[in-house]
Amino acid sequence: MGDPLVGAIVMPEFGVIIPALAMNDNLYVDFHAMAQSPRDGTPPTAHMVLTEENVNDLQDYLSVGNMHLEWFQPNDFVTTEVDNVEMPETPTLKRSWVVDCLVVKQIADSKSERRICQQWACLYTPPRTCQIQVHVTNESPQGC
């Protein structure tokens, strides 16, 4: 296995690094909404992906400054159960979802210069055993 930070997505404004776990035998989907929103007035959020070189630079920076990255802990997340969510194919078909939510505070406003190498940068590691269980009464999308 390579360095877990290689390929991770970074949001400097919020001090968050989310590792990518790209494996063809364990697929997952990420959703982001980081563009500027005319509808809700939120500004855009800068983001990037760490290369191997970036990670080496980051490790050097941290070691020189005697700093370290912190991992989010399970109790940082709040479990929310969302009931009666419509399924895509028809609004009459519903199911419940369990979502672990984490709210991170902004650490630099959107006008400030953004840096990725900061001692407050946190890492999020997803649990590896989560599964999506989709219950449909009709033909499943796998039959496409």
Partner: protein, 269 residues
């Protein structure tokens, strides 16, 4: 108050606590969706051969003849000596780009992109004879509209689009709960836009007698895709004409391109 292993998804939102309180961003929308991760697709694994096949078939239809030079906001990386060489090579070999049609060009490197200045061949009356086009450092991949028939060959693409609809409806449900409990809503604009796409796909689903193939194809037809085969540089997302959308991303490892370390690199974003 802890991460449950049985959670269906994990959501990370960013709260804008340092932004000035402006009328453009009321309190109930002061959160950004940084990441909503569904841990598994319906099909949790895919063979390396299928990934190789997808990559080799999608690359030629992506970008401008397999090359992305249009994303000038920094996601293609910064301009440097290597990008100079790459750009000149691409200009030389790719006839979909301006220099092949315009002849002599002036190429000015900037921080995150190049400015290509050339003389128009057929300027309209009263129009300037000089044109300027920005080009990003070239990278493999780029945007493309995927034909719906691709789901016949690669069902994983249908699942990919299906899960996007699931995520939209989940976020919509969560926002309803948040609104009732006076909590900030998340990704309000993107969700509203995506709901329109879902309504369209639902109508097709009804018209086609409950065909999931037609359902996923309909939803794909109102979305565009981007093939990304490089680590993206720091950038802001931008949608044309003030549009908003949820960005869904699945990562594959292409064994022939990079040793499969199991981490890093992105394929479709």
């Amino acid at each position: 108050m802890r991460v449950r292993k049985a959670a269906d998804a994990v959501m990370i939102t960013g709260e804008y606590c340092l932004e000035e309180k402006t009328s453009k961003m009321p309190f109930y929308t002061r959160q950004k969706l940084l990441c909503l991760r569904f841990q598994k697709l319906l099909t949790s694994s895919i063979s390396n051969d299928t990934v190789e096949s997808m990559y080799s078939n999608l690359l030629p239809v992506s970008g401008r003849k397999s090359v992305d030079v249009t994303r000038t906001s920094g996601s293609n990386g910064k301009v440097n000596c290597q990008s100079h060489k790459n750009l000149l090579y691409v200009f030389h070999t790719n006839d979909a780009l301006i220099p092949h049609r315009a002849g002599a060009c002036l190429i000015i490197p900037r921080d995150k992109h190049y400015v290509v200045v050339y003389r128009k061949r057929n300027p309209k009356d009263g129009d300037t004879t000089i044109a300027i086009t920005p080009y990003a450092p070239p990278q493999p991949g780029g945007a493309f509209s995927l034909h719906g028939n691709a789901v016949d060959y690669y069902p994983i693409i249908a699942e990919f689009t299906y899960v996007k609809m699931v995520a939209t409806l989940l976020l919509s449900g969560m926002n309803e709960i948040n609104l009732i409990s006076d909590k900030p809503m998340v990704a309000q604009g993107p969700v509203e836009n995506e709901m329109m796409n879902i309504e369209y796909a639902r109508r097709v689903f009804e018209l086609k007698g409950g065909s999931y193939r037609a359902f996923c194809k309909a939803h794909m037809s109102v979305n565009s895709m981007t093939l990304v085969a490089h680590p993206v540089g720091q950038h802001f997302d931008y949608f044309h004409k003030g549009g908003e959308s949820l960005e869904n991303k699945v990562l594959f490892v292409v064994p022939s391109i990079k040793n499969s370390l199991g981490r890093g690199g992105s394929f479709i974003g």
